[in-house]
Symmetry: C2
Subunit: 437 residues, 2 copies
């Protein structure tokens, strides 16, 4: 096996970095606490996330929670939470997860100040954000310093193969899932062994006993709430990537699997002897997690239109840059002028109607009999890919935040454009990494 | 209803034509009988077919049988049959049905001299040809002169809509089936009414009682042999044509349904905004019934190749002219340079082999994960329709009589050829006739 020490050394925060981090964090906590005191708000502040759990990488963010007493209404909690965030991070921007929160920079680091409600372990769910402090407690109790480093290595491996991150755009493994996996199996390598030998779904719990059913490719029972699947965000594709990369790494361990810098850059179009088009929409000012679902629906609708109208899509991809970008690759860019329209069986009541409808030159050929049915070759209306999509897209509801931009959708042939598209980078870079060459 | 008298007058043989016919027939019968006598052959001659049954149209052929005693071996019967045929029709050519026979011209008419064995009604089948004399007897006993005219009208209707003829190329209604239908239903119009109101299969017998199962769209029990379906040759498509044309005629009776001159002529290519190609093979010297099955298999093989390789065939047709002609219409004439090659699931034993196979630049993109499987975009080999078919056709066995010509198959783009192809005429003329315009 390769030596993991140099990898860990490269990405684990140094003593000094950790001191700095802790300093910035306690500074923010202090600021929050003084606001709470001054305004007599019944809440307490808490450092959460990987920094709190000791599983952070050198580049990690600082996540702080403001945990409100259950006496407050949701509305008041959210209002007070934003007020505190803006006061601590004057340059910060409002974002929206389960509750709105403020995200900004402090001491060169990204800092999120997120409001939530206080809950006890096992309590009825209020929201998944509200459960985060319980996760911090659980991980701190169950991981020693060696375990924390194993989580770091697992995160690095997952980043290297592109499956790390629970945001919808990635639909991969969260930091908490990495922690639970290391607690379950004992080390990064043991986790990889589990995925390498896994057939079909993964279904695990840290405790004995039967595991509840969830409709998801991976089920990892959250030890702080056994009704919840902590791995619900992970897509089948990312589970598959994890399985095959684990097999490949164990068969041929190479450091390059831990190369986390391989984020895909925009790329020029590559000639593939196919018909490639990029569909772009303006991007509304909402967080990516919400926008991405709608962007993905936009992709699915375009693929559906191209499929139904016979352009034969081969591949597609979606990405968010300054715009929403959808790439679709097809076999045809122009439809044949004629298609065979299959009518009713000759026995059917409406057979004569079909004949009347398509007689007298309205069909390019027919009506005629094929098997026990009537057919007619009829002219196809719009035949050019761009025209068909522009016309049909109006008949679809994509999502409330982007429907307003449908009319301004642009369709670009990347072979004829000098622009580089992030979506092409994503498409070209989906190749399995770390392959022996 | 329209007046059928003028239609009948136009196509029914006149008194004089019938006298001539009878004269020619008895001349031939006399010649055959004198040979039989001279050579002491135990056989008798018989006029069969529509002339014998009084259901012939003015243009009808003369069919004569030489009925051999069952004492002869098949080999001797066939040898003697050909000898007699050649002596009576010195210019005649040998053809092959169930037994070989001689076909030629006499007094301006086509004459066939067909050898067969003597059998009794209900006897175990020797061959369907041997049963023909029994058909003649049955029809003569069950049709009066009005019934004979009704058969003539039914034949004319069926010729008009292109479903008359039991040869494999047509797969339609034989003269005998027309006679049985008129005996069953009483008149041409009653036959049309039966088809107009028919749902699904037709299943009839002239006698009461349960009807045996046959795997055919139409079952008409042969009254001279209840184990036989007299309508076995009729295709689903021709049954469907008969149904819908009967409905249309009864709803709007027009003389043009009886226009039997509408045999399709060769036609020039018509631009349809599709990719049309004609594949021709040399024609060996065998009868059309045997050749057509192989020609149809040739059509099916080409369609299969085009389907499998992604050219997306829309329509196809087959016809015999001086050559075997197959027309196929497709959506694509050139394949995209890249195709998505779907590999094994990531769980599979051979997943790593797939990755090794397609790594290192052998794929244009990939290997990558899609869902729970591995994929790679790989270059397509031959991409042009003509090249793909020329290459792949060698891997197929079409039929013993035409395989020798495969290597000389020609592929013609009719848009770039001045030649007129019979197959295009057949394709363009499949339109339902007699439509109100």
């Amino acid at each position: 096996m390769i030596d993991f020490a140099p990898i860990l050394k490269k990405y684990k925060p140094t003593e000094e970095q950790n001191r700095e981090l802790k300093h910035t964090a306690s500074e923010v906590l202090g600021m929050i606490n003084s606001i709470l005191e001054k305004k007599k708000i019944k809440a307490k502040s808490l450092l959460v996330g990987s920094v709190a759990k000791g599983t952070n990488l050198a580049s990690g963010d600082i996540d702080l929670f403001v945990i409100f007493s259950k006496e407050y209404s949701i509305r008041d909690m959210e209002r007070l939470g934003l007020m505190i965030g803006h006061e601590v991070l004057p340059q910060g921007r409002e974002k929206y997860a389960e509750h709105p929160y403020v995200s900004g920079q402090l001491g060169g680091r990204k800092v999120d100040i997120v409001p939530c409600f206080e809950i006890d372990p096992g309590t009825r769910i209020i929201s998944s954000v509200d459960r985060t402090p319980l996760h911090t407690d659980f991980v701190l109790k169950n991981l020693d310093s060696e375990g924390q480093d194993q989580v770091r290595l697992l995160k690095l491996f997952m980043k290297g193969i592109g499956v790390y991150g629970s945001e919808i755009k990635v639909s991969g493994f969260s930091g908490y899932v990495c922690e639970l996996l290391v607690i379950k199996y004992g080390s990064m390598l043991k986790v990889l062994e589990a995925f390498a030998s896994l057939k079909g779904k993964m279904k695990i719990s840290l405790e004995e006993g039967e595991i509840r059913e969830f409709d998801a490719p991976i089920v990892i029972i959250d030890p702080t709430d056994i009704t919840r699947n902590a791995a619900a965000a992970i897509s089948l594709e990312n589970l598959s990537r994890m399985k095959i990369n684990s097999r490949m790494f164990l068969a041929n361990p190479m450091e390059q699997y831990f190369n986390t810098g391989a984020d895909y850059a925009p790329e020029k179009y590559r000639e593939r002897g196919t018909v490639m088009r990029i569909f772009t929409l303006e991007k509304p000012d909402i967080i990516d997690d919400i926008l991405f679902s709608q962007a993905n629906r936009f992709r699915n609708i375009i693929v559906q239109i191209l499929e139904e109208d016979g352009f034969m899509p081969i591949s597609s991809e979606v990405e968010l840059s300054d715009d929403i970008e959808v790439m679709v690759e097809c076999k045809l860019e122009k439809l044949p002028a004629t298609k065979v329209h299959v009518g009713p069986p000759v026995d059917a009541q409406n057979a004569i109607d079909f004949i009347k409808k398509w007689s007298g030159g309205r069909a390019t050929l027919g009506p005629y009999v094929c098997g026990d049915r009537l057919c007619a070759d009829i002219p196809v209306g719009k035949r050019v890919l761009e025209e068909v999509v522009q016309e049909r897209i109006n008949g679809f509801i994509i999502g409330k935040n982007i429907d307003q931009f449908k009319a301004k959708m642009r369709i670009i042939d990347p072979a004829k454009s000098n622009k580089k598209f992030l979506v092409l980078g994503k498409f070209y870079n989906k190749v399995l990494s770390g392959l022996p060459s």
